[in-house]
Amino acid sequence: MFDFLSQEPVRVVLALLLTFGFLIGSMLILLYLERKIAAFIQDRHGPHHVGKWGLLQAVADTFKLLLKEDVISANVDRRVFIMAPVVFFSPVIAAFAVLPFSKDLTAINLNVGVIYLMALGSLDVLGLIMAGWSSNNKYSLIGGFRAAAQMISYELPLGLSFVVPVMLAGSLSLVDIVHAQDHYWFVLIQPLALVTMFTAGLAETNRNPFDLPEAESELVAGFMTEYSGLRWAMFFLGEYGNMIVVSSVAATMFFGGWHGWLLPGILWFLAKVYIFLCLFMWIRSTLPRLRADQLMSFGWKVLIPLTLVNLVVTSFVILLLPDAYQLPLGIISWALMLAFVFSFRRVVFPRRVSKSLEFRRTA
């Protein structure tokens, strides 16, 4: 019998369709989750009018966006303006191709999967710059350039953090990385890489506290200012898609991907991904936003040196103890991470006591 599913083109098309369905489905769930989690944190109810417990709120929102008038301002660079959301959105879908949802559910087991993900991540920024430039709006322009600076800077710590699990697994393929975690999850021996990767991921996805490109209190909506309706929805979808990708990569590289007990692998994978997504939402509801220059100095002066140190230490430990590197590496990494977390306040953002000496008390 002709094995239909083993044909590569068929698999790719099927995977794309599934990905798109998965993305749209997750989008609806995430919209609802985002609102409910924010509401829970903020001591209020959240949506409860549309459908039972407001479950249909996301559907209603989607229809609202679909039915909205598509406004294109008179002085925009039309072609670039129309293309920008597509350019932003397509790498996000493409990234799903290499994610190992379960042992058998991976579109392509690409042997350079990690590099492929990095490459797609860098493409994202192009869409944002296009949107910011073509809108012919100063807020959009500032938002677009902030996005460019931010995403290019944070690509480095993201990539450097990716290298650590790659070294541990000895492969660039995401499937192999999951297989390498048959006995233990990499988070146990490399928590620091997870923290740096997730922090850089927050910046890559333009989420709080790094949501400067669309900082609504400063730039109205940043690069999205001139967009409305479906085009706006594509940016929104892209942002959520990016979140899913970052969460999936975190789950794959550090939390053993589909590994788990009793339940099928895909459920384990999705559960891990959703825990990370909830973390995204928790952070969004908790933290204020950094300033642009503080964001850059945090990226270049803290995150990149930290990931570099971690990388060097990890490679030396693996080099010196090729057979039993797990335990020493785990101890070193946990110690480094705890030291970082506890010294965070003093080292990263030293509490500068305002210079009050020049002021004199009057009256």
Binding site: S217, L287, R291, F349, S354, K355, S356, E358, F359
Partner: protein, 379 residues
């Protein structure tokens, strides 16, 4: 109208010509607190100059006072600083009482101070919530508004309206405290003092909040005094200037107000001053409740007020600074001239001084920290 000179600047990179950009922020903008328009001159992310453009909410309040009787005027004070209605009413009726040379029953004075301080808490809560919203944290506003709502509900029992209460009268207040008000108030204060600690722990201990506010928008006391700044902004710069102690009114001298002063003069100091003022307000209300005397809440007054010829200026400490009402009476039923001394209008002037050289992100941080109410700036 050419607001700011436009001139290209030399770039550090040879051969690249860069220009400063004029960014029009407002009057329709999420964080200009109403309808303020800021014309920012920016060079990259750095702000080189700012011109605040005001007047979008001008309603001719002072002229409105001239066309209303004194009693009708009280209601319009609510729309001047729409976050501290009670304190505005207090200033207005205080000015009229000064014209009449009237003694207000002591119970009325106590009630006035209680509602004034409640209003101060409510106003600072709104400030805190919206300030954090400006900085990108969208949770605190819900906590702040939850507690503010309790205050507004208590106001509703006083005057029948949550927001524009119209509670003060010349010679006293509209009516005595309703039954159960004091119990509810005490319960609220008991809970609220912990809420302030909770808010301070959640917000003040946050590293991102600290880097966004510390050393941002530094104001020296000399500069503040030169610009006529008052209220928490000036006290955050180390100047002990509080109308409640400097030019005491009502029963504040008996309650023993402790002005809250910080010395660093940055946005974080202004935050600290306001947080401490909320605690101080709770203490003042508790002391006022302890000493609340009995008796009437309103002096006997004619139905139509005709103050004798003369003029009066009465100041109170509003949550934003020195709020004063200046009235001239020609002996008729309406004021001949009314003038408001708005703290926000004066405080706003210093914005360009504080913002030169700051980043775009600092614009909202500094603007939020000086806490302007556009209804009061434009009147």
């Amino acid at each position: 109208m050419k607001l700011i000179e436009h001139h290209p600047i030399e770039s550090k990179v040879a051969g690249l010509r860069t220009e400063e950009m004029l960014l029009n922020m407002g009057p329709q903008h999420p964080s200009t607190h109403g309808v303020l328009r800021l014309v920012l001159q920016i060079s990259g992310e750095t702000v080189t100059d700012v011109t605040p453009v005001i007047g979008y909410l001008h309603r001719g309040m002072e002229k409105i006072f001239e066309n209303r009787t004194y009693l009708q005027g009280i209601r319009y004070t609510n729309n001047i600083d729409y976050l501290s209605q009670m304190i505005n009413e207090h200033a207005f009726v205080g000015a009229v009482e000064q014209l009449l040379n009237l003694d207000v029953p002591r119970r009325a004075e106590y009630i006035r101070v209680i509602v004034d301080e409640l209003q101060r808490i409510a106003s600072h809560l709104v400030w805190l919530g919206t300030y954090l919203l400006d900085l990108g944290a969208f949770t605190p506003i819900n906590y702040c508004f939850r507690d503010r709502d309790e205050i507004l509900e208590m106001f509703e029992t006083l005057g029948g309206s949550r927001f524009n209460v119209n509670y003060m009268r010349v010679g006293g207040v509209l009516a005595d405290l309703p039954m159960g008000f004091l119990g509810r108030l005490e319960k609220f204060l008991h809970r609220f003092i912990h809420t302030v600690d909770e808010l301070e722990e959640l917000i003040g201990g946050n590293e991102i909040f600290e880097v966004r506010t510390m050393n941002v928008g530094r104001m020296s006391p000399e500069l503040g005094i030169a610009y006529g700044i008052s209220g928490p902004c000036l006290r955050a710069s180390g100047v002990n200037f509080d109308i409640r102690t400097f030019r005491p009114y009502s029963i504040y001298p008996e309650l023993g107000v402790v002005p809250q002063v910080e010395v660093s003069g940055d946005a974080f100091a202004r935050y600290q001053v306001r947080m401490n003022e909320m605690r101080e307000s709770v203490r003042l209300i508790q002391r006022a409740i302890e000493g609340l005397p009995g008796g009437p809440v309103r002096a006997r007054m004619p139905h139509l007020l005709r103050p004798p010829k003369g003029e009066s200026y009465y100041t109170v400490e509003s949550p934003r600074g020195e709020m004063g009402y200046y009235l001239i009476s020609d002996g008729s039923t309406n004021p001949y001239r009314a003038k408001v001394r708005p703290p926000c209008f004066v405080n706003l002037q210093i914005l360009p001084e504080l913002l030169r050289g700051a980043r775009i992100g600092d614009v909202v941080s500094v603007l939020g920290s000086i806490d302007i109410i556009l209804g009061e700036v434009d009147r």
